[in-house]
């Protein structure tokens, strides 16, 4: 669990933890929301068309498959119907031919009828027996395996129907041999005006063969049933012969049709059906929809997999793009904020400088008054004998004058921080300037056992700058370093060429260091950590002002206990740099 968290943390963008609070109005965006919105919109725009395509495609494929199947079922049903109708027609036509061609006398003759049955069996096949029935329903002659002569059919339905319509085909029934049979009968007339019927029993094996020879898939079924729904040929799934089928009986139509239904097991099925003319039969081709749509289901499965694959890839791409973009914005924002921060700091220092200068101006005048008055008192004391000998009075006056001088120094430094003297630009050799400055501290260094190391490379270019300002800058920084160091420490003054335009001078001590929160304020006037030791708190702010005037900048890096490095960056040619 922890490992997963670590991975998540690693992939979390940098802006994730940026809080937007009312106190931090600088931050323009809620990056997290922006990021989520970006992901949502991009993802939706990418995935929505894919989804629409998927649905449309599947629906089109489904319709096409359904149409194709409809046509195929209709064609198959129609062909099978024609075959069956032709089979029946052929048998009836054979009987009709016998009636037309054969004398009634011969039909009445048992030998004659037997010979006809033999011929029919040979010529057509499927004939089991033949009987001759007169118009009163009596079977007057019979050729076949059973003893049916003399039977009366007058009251039977088929007899009446055949008598009226001229031909008849019966439902399938179990004959005396316990085999499914059907009866075909035709009506003939004798010269005296009376009628007779020629009846034949047909074996349905041929019939069943026609139906079962239809090329159907495993889960499909084909059978004949009568108009009451009783099965006439055996069915694979919908009941045995003579049983009622599980399916609804489709409405009559002169053509082959396809109907949709649900079987008893609850499977949706398509039924291709045709009413066979001049017979009680309905041909039915039953296909399970699941079987029909098998191709479509596998297509759907494939396409859904493809869709998921694309979705995952899209999500990864969208995630990467959004993170990259929001990170860029975040960085740009951060850069802008820090630039604004720096600008704010600079302008704050400038305004503090102006304020300080204003105060200094106003204080100088009263200081001058005190100075002259105290000075006059001192002059008078020195002149008059009675006071000249009083050391206490003179000491008091000297204290006042000293204090005035000290105050004057402060105001002068303050004004120096604000005043913009025109620098006098001249070519300067850095190592000379640095050595000059360091030489002031040689004695102190010796006395306090501080090592001074100057590292100015040979190839450092001659810089064009103001000598006085540079001296003052380095003096102030070296002075600061000395105050931070104890005996045995080391001071490094390192110069380096930064690029074609700038050189840097670093003054590094390994003294006490500056706490981080103080580092931000050390360039502000009157900010001093050594005020108890008599510092004015102006040294670094004046240095800052001077460096600015020389179009350079100054930075500080410090760590408590390890020391402090001040780095001054100066233009090699002051005149070639745009003033700030």
């Amino acid at each position: 669990m922890m490992e997963f968290k670590d991975i998540v943390t690693r992939f979390k963008p940098k802006f994730w933890h940026t809080e937007t609070s009312p106190f931090n109005s600088q931050i323009l965006f809620n990056y997290r929301r922006f990021w989520l919105l970006s992901i949502f919109l991009r993802f939706t725009i990418s995935v929505a068309p894919m989804l629409i395509f998927l649905i449309m495609n599947l629906s089109l494929a489904r319709t096409a498959l359904q149409n194709e199947n409809y046509l195929r079922t209709v064609r198959l049903t129609s062909n099978a119907r024609r075959t069956i109708a032709y089979f029946l027609e052929e048998r009836l036509d054979a009987l009709k031919f016998i009636i037309q061609e054969t004398e009634f006398q011969r039909l009445k003759d048992p030998v004659g009828l037997f010979s006809i049955l033999q011929n029919l069996k040979m010529g057509f096949g499927g004939f089991v027996d033949v009987g001759l029935i007169n118009d009163s329903g009596l079977q007057i002659n019979y050729a076949g395996p059973f003893d049916l002569a003399g039977r009366n059919y007058r009251d039977q339905k088929w007899f009446r129907e055949c008598y009226e319509t001229g031909t008849y085909i019966s439902d399938v029934f179990l004959g005396y041999r316990r085999l499914p049979h059907l009866i075909a009968a035709v009506k003939g007339s004798i010269q005296d005006g009376s009628y007779y019927l020629l009846r034949a029993t047909l074996d349905i094996t041929k019939f069943t063969q026609i139906v079962s020879s239809l090329e159907l898939s495993e889960k499909s079924d084909a059978f004949l049933c009568n108009r009451e729904g009783l099965l006439q040929t055996p069915s694979k799934y919908y009941g045995g012969i003579f049983e009622r089928i599980d399916l609804p009986i489709p409405e009559y139509s002169p053509h082959s049709e396809v109907a949709e239904a649900i079987d008893r097991a609850g499977n949706p099925v398509s039924i291709g059906y045709a009413y066979i003319e001049k017979s009680p039969y309905i041909l039915m081709l039953v296909k399970r929809n699941q079987e029909i749509m098998k191709g479509w289901y596998s297509l759907r499965k494939e396409m859904i997999w493809l869709f998921w694959g694309c979705t995952v890839v899209t999500l990864i791409v969208v995630l990467s793009i959004s993170t990259f973009m929001v990170n860029k914005i975040y960085h740009a924002d951060q850069t802008r904020l820090s630039a604004m921060d720096r600008l704010e700091g600079t302008s704050r220092l400038a305004s503090i400088g102006r304020l300080a200068a204003g105060v200094a101006h106003e204080i100088n005048n009263p200081l001058a008054v005190i100075n002259e008055n105290a000075g006059l008192i001192k002059d008078l004391f020195i002149l008059k004998k009675e006071y000249k000998e009083d050391p206490q009075l003179l000491e008091l006056i000297d204290t006042i004058l000293e204090s005035v001088e000290r105050s004057g120094e402060i105001t002068r430094e303050l004004l120096g921080f604000a005043r913009h003297f025109e620098p006098k630009i001249q070519p300067l050799q850095l190592h000379k300037v640095i050595k000059e400055v360091v030489s002031f501290y040689k004695k102190e260094a010796l006395y306090r056992n501080i090592r001074i190391n100057i590292d100015v490379p040979e190839d450092i270019p001659v810089i064009h700058s103001d000598h006085g300002s540079l001296q003052q800058i380095f003096l102030s920084l070296v002075n600061n370093a000395f105050q931070a160091m104890k005996g045995g420490c080391q001071l490094d003054v390192i110069a380096a060429k930064q690029d074609e335009k700038y050189v840097t001078v670093s003054i590094r001590d390994n003294g006490c260091g500056i706490p981080e929160d103080e580092q931000k304020k050390i360039f502000e006037p009157f900010y001093s950590t050594k005020s108890t030791k008599g510092g004015t708190g102006l040294g670094l702010s004046i240095t800052y002002g001077l460096v600015q005037k020389l179009n350079g900048d100054i930075s500080v890096h410090s760590k408590i206990g390890e020391g402090t490095t001040f780095t001054v960056r100066l233009p090699i040619n002051l005149e070639g740099v745009t003033p700030k």
Binding site: I363, A368, V369, N371, N373, G375, V404, R419
Partner: protein
């Protein structure tokens, strides 16, 4: 040598004059520009020590007027205000530019330098 001190702060300028006199210099003082002008008209001064910022007329303008009356006069500016502009004009127009508060010895030395004594 005769010195004229002009500053709107009487307690400053009068004491300064007194101290210069104690040091053996001939010093006179004024607190307004018209007083300074009338004094210059009456008697000749070798050098004038002027405050840069005074009410009604700045030290620099006053210097121009005094120069008309007495062309040979030398000038030293003193000021409590150390703006860049003041410094540039002051150091151009006068022999010296001194910031308040200053030591009397500094002033005496500058006066002597200006008069090349």
């Amino acid at each position: 040598m005769k010195i004229l001190l002009v500053d709107d702060e009487e307690k400053f300028v009068s004491r300064l004059a007194q101290r210069l006199i104690l040091r053996g210099l001939e010093a006179d003082w004024a607190t307004t520009w018209d007083e300074a002008l009338s004094k210059t008209e009456k008697g000749k001064y070798d050098i004038a020590v002027l405050d840069v910022k005074m009410p009604f007329m700045s030290g620099i303008d006053l210097k121009k007027k005094l120069e008309k009356i007495s062309p040979d006069m030398k000038f030293i500016f003193v000021t409590g205000h150390g703006s860049e502009e003041d410094y540039n004009v002051g150091s151009k127009e006068a022999a010296f530019y001194i910031m308040k508060p200053f030591k009397i010895e500094t002033l005496v030395e500058k006066i002597k330098q200006a008069l090349e004594v």
